[in-house]
Symmetry: C2
Subunit: 231 residues, 2 copies
């Protein structure tokens, strides 16, 4: 079966959404070829594969492109059913919980974290306040997770663990760039122990982008945002 | 099986996301009880069921709440596998296409449409320009849809048709409120014929909110947004 399957991933080294897909492919044990894209000079192939958003990641499976990281994760889980662990649980309610929290992490939390990184002064204070509220919601959510929707209870990385790493895989980089702790172990003990368990795994450790290089990039993004913000 | 399943839907009459879930339940033929929520005075039950977003729709199945319309649609399809038509196609690539376009419709297009409704002058011109570009992208997308991801080729309403109606189910109301045509049949012939086919169906016709009442509400929302916009 593997011989018929040619898998290519178009990405860029710093995109957390690309990391999500890479991690899913590695957890499943699916061999793939990686193509680094220059987002300032997008390749004709990327524009052909993702004419709607013109973004990475794009997974190309036997010549057919699939776009959007969460859509790709579902596709991987539904296509390679006989290889590696299942990414989503079987039970419909647990699947719903995974999708609900994945969307919360990717849409709500990540957006707020970026608002913190791209602002200072009062705007940043407000963004931090919002972030802390959302982290509180997440901590409360984790407390009530049904069994088996995250790594906490399992041997293998699942869908939600992978999406959590999209959001927090490089939180130490983010903390270094903004100059203060984003995650307080006192207030988010469950999140911290979940993340610690994930960071122990070789597949996670090895997949992290180079720390200093990412610090440099985020500092550049932050400075750019601050320079162009209305005074 | 039906007797064990108690289904309640918490909603509000004007929410397109609630309509999405109602339509899915009707297409599947799942009996449910509807609870109208007053969003200005949210019930303790709604706050208990959706503490994260405090929003409708919430589907409560045998006492267990499921939130977010697209998550609920997947849940319905995965739970009632033996009742009514399947909402998603079987093929993983087609499923990926349905999810990709659903997310485009619900996140990208709906947001832009609301920006048009809530603005005037130059801001509205820009929003209209963006909307027209996105409609062009959608038309191009429809042209390349694989067989069987929408009603175009089928007897039954599927996931993507239902989400399309979230977005465009009341476009005539929107056109009346902003005073010009949103969808140009010359530029969007495939979208128009898709919508016309959907509007023929009794389940769609009967589910539309009262036209004049919705016009009044949208006019109020538009006026409120214009009054509070920075000059």
């Amino acid at each position: 079966m593997e011989e018929q399957n040619k898998v290519m991933l178009h990405g860029t080294w710093f995109s957390p959404f690309v990391k999500t897909v890479e991690l899913a492919l590695k957890v499943k044990g699916i061999p793939y070829e990686y193509v680094e894209e220059d987002l300032k000079n997008k390749s004709p192939l990327l524009l052909k594969y993702n004419p709607v958003h013109k973004k990475v990641p794009v997974l190309v499976h036997n010549g057919t492109p699939i776009c959007e990281s969460l859509v790709i994760l579902e596709y991987i889980d539904e296509t390679w059913t006989n290889i590696g662990p299942r990414l989503l649980p079987q039970d419909p309610y647990k699947r719903a919980q995974v999708r609900f929290w994945s969307s919360f992490l990717q849409q709500q939390l990540l957006q707020t974290l970026f608002a913190v990184i791209k602002s200072d002064g009062e705007a940043q204070e407000n963004a931090v306040k919002e972030l802390l509220e959302k982290l509180k919601v997440l901590e409360e959510g984790i407390k009530n997770f049904p069994d088996g929707i995250s790594f906490i209870d399992h041997e293998n990385l699942g869908f939600l663990d992978i999406v959590l790493l999209t959001m927090f895989g490089t939180y130490k980089v983010q903390e270094q760039v903004i100059g203060f702790k984003v995650i307080d172990p006192e207030k988010s003990p469950l999140l911290v122990s979940w993340l610690s368990a994930l960071f122990e795994l070789p597949v996670v450790k090895e997949g992290l982008p180079p720390h200093e290089k990412l610090v440099g990039l985020l500092q550049y993004i932050r400075q750019n945002a601050l320079n162009s913000a209305p005074v």
